[in-house]
């Protein structure tokens, strides 16, 4: 366990990219909700994978293949323990959160959703947790229902309760909103849904990097996240699913690895988790993801949560002192994301000028157009934090915003 505040310099040294100069300014990277930077441990793991361990996994008789297979399956055990899943059979490697959701929308949908059935999402979902369900509904003639949020950015759980019914087949909800930063009470949501006999998929893309996740305590039916948002490489992600669901769901894609036997008359499928992993898996990505997980575990997820929560509160306080500052998302329980507008300055203008000062953040609708619509806006400026950010960087951001604002007045 590492006290982040006391060790911030050595932690920052783990991330080589943080030394970058942008337009002659030191990089201040505040776009972590889009992707996080990688510690050298992860970068070295990728390099080591290709230098010393590259051979296709599973069924290889030779030394290298067995070593690669062992590393890949070790990574699966590492993810299982990270999420406190009861078995590594419940951990499917995917390309990321989006693919994990698409997998469930397709396979769960094939088995359990028919005409007139209902799927429930929320108004604050990322498009990746809306569109796959819309496509499922179109395919099956099912209906998509939406749980709204209030102006603070908190879900209306009474509406959720009233929407749950005989025809509800699944509820899909973000653990943390990528735009508002709201931490949704997913344990309570899952309990409510389970009382109505409805399974829940939790989009953990924005929660896994910031807090301890225990899928058994949450009792989540599906929990999904992306490696690259938790200091791991791009192109690798995870679908956790309860065995009881995964066993019943048909395969998502066909190909190598996912089969038991193949003939032109009949093909039988492999067991879990391989049934859902057609083709050569990203075994370099999985081992690097495991390295990223070990990295955050060494620091300690509770330490990360405390440090980032302190940083978020500090940033919110400082930003609110800027004239004309408007923050979207003021939920009681928030994590690591601040969406804002400053006076009448277009977020694009603000983002472009802050970039020239070396500050990287995101402008636009953040793949959550319904959230924008809720507030009657087109876009926001979003700052999002990671464990390597500092109060000095927050101060620099605040100073930068003031400087830009002065240009417009």
């Amino acid at each position: 366990m590492t006290d982040i505040q006391a060790n911030i310099d050595s932690i920052r040294q783990d991330f080589p990219i943080l030394e970058t100069q942008v337009y002659k300014h030191p990089l201040v990277y505040l776009d972590n909700a889009a992707t996080t930077q990688k510690p050298r441990q992860v970068i070295e793991k990728i390099e080591e994978g290709y230098r010393r361990q590259n051979a296709n996994v599973h069924r290889g008789v030779h030394f290298l293949s067995q070593m690669a297979t062992e590393a890949h399956e070790d990574a699966r055990r590492c993810v299982a323990s990270f999420l406190n899943s009861s078995s590594e059979r419940e951990i499917i490697f995917t390309r990321g959160t989006t693919e994990s959701i698409n997998l469930v929308a397709f396979s769960f949908g094939e088995k359990f959703v028919s005409e007139g059935d209902e799927i429930i999402v929320t108004e604050m979902e990322h498009h990746s947790n809306i569109v796959p369900w819309q496509m499922l509904c179109q395919r099956k003639g099912a209906v998509l229902k939406v749980v709204p949020f209030n102006d603070r950015g908190e879900l209306d759980l009474q509406v959720l309760s009233s929407l749950l019914g005989q025809r509800t087949r699944l509820v899909a909800v973000a653990h943390v909103s990528n735009t508002l930063g709201t931490v949704n009470p997913v344990a309570e949501i899952i309990r409510t849904c389970h009382e109505a006999g409805v399974p829940v998929l939790v989009d953990g893309a924005q929660s896994v990097p910031h807090q301890t996740i225990d899928v058994q305590v949450l009792d989540a039916d599906f929990y999904v996240f992306s490696g690259h948002k938790v200091y791991g490489p791009t192109g690798i992600g995870v679908l956790y699913g309860k065995e009881k669901w995964l066993e019943q769901m048909p395969p998502y894609q066909g190909g190598g690895e996912m089969i038991a036997t193949v003939s032109f008359e009949k093909t039988t499928y492999n067991e879990l988790p391989y049934k859902f992993e057609a083709g050569t898996p990203d075994f370099i990505g999985s081992t690097a993801l495991a390295e990223a997980i070990r990295y955050v575990q060494r620091i300690g997820m509770d330490n990360i949560r405390r440090y980032e929560s302190d940083l978020l509160q500090y940033a919110t306080r400082q930003l609110m002192q800027i004239d004309g500052m408007r923050i979207f998302g003021q939920a009681g329980n928030k994590e690591s994301v601040i969406s804002m507008q400053v006076g009448k300055i277009h977020p694009y203008d603000m983002g472009t000028l802050l970039d020239k000062l070396g500050i990287a953040l995101r402008t636009g609708h953040h793949c959550a157009e319904p959230v924008m619509r809720h507030f009657g806006i087109e876009s926001t400026l979003r700052a999002s934090f990671a464990l390597y950010n500092t109060k000095a960087e927050v101060d620099y951001l605040v100073e930068g915003i003031r400087k830009v604002r002065n240009l417009f007045e």
Partner: protein, 142 residues
Amino acid sequence: MTVNELQDQVIEDFSAFDEWFDKYAMLIELGNSLPEIQESQRVEQNLIQGCQSRVWLDAHIDEATGHVIFEGDSDAVIVKGILSLLIRVLSDHAPIEIAQSDLYFIERIGLKEHLSPTRSNGLLAMVKQMKLYGLIFSKRAQ
């Protein structure tokens, strides 16, 4: 003045700035001073696709000179500043001159990074649309 003389003027104006921040401060100033367009011009058919901000571009022929007159607006001021430069260089010229123009000033003042199609400010889309207007009006005149 010809399109190229106007481009050279813009290059001259921007040569005073070394810092990116100052160049953008200049664009903001230009954006803020671009004349307002009519509500009737702020319509769907004048919207340019592919921008993170909204950009409207309208063009008509000045009957007296046969030149194309451009007018436009954006809800993002920097984009409006870029648009204002394009209008300063291209507006009030013969359609064929616009269609055949080589806009070297964009690179020379350091805005070339904004010409890449992956950028979301729509500079490329604006240039394309203006040249297209030039082409259409020149065909019509024949």
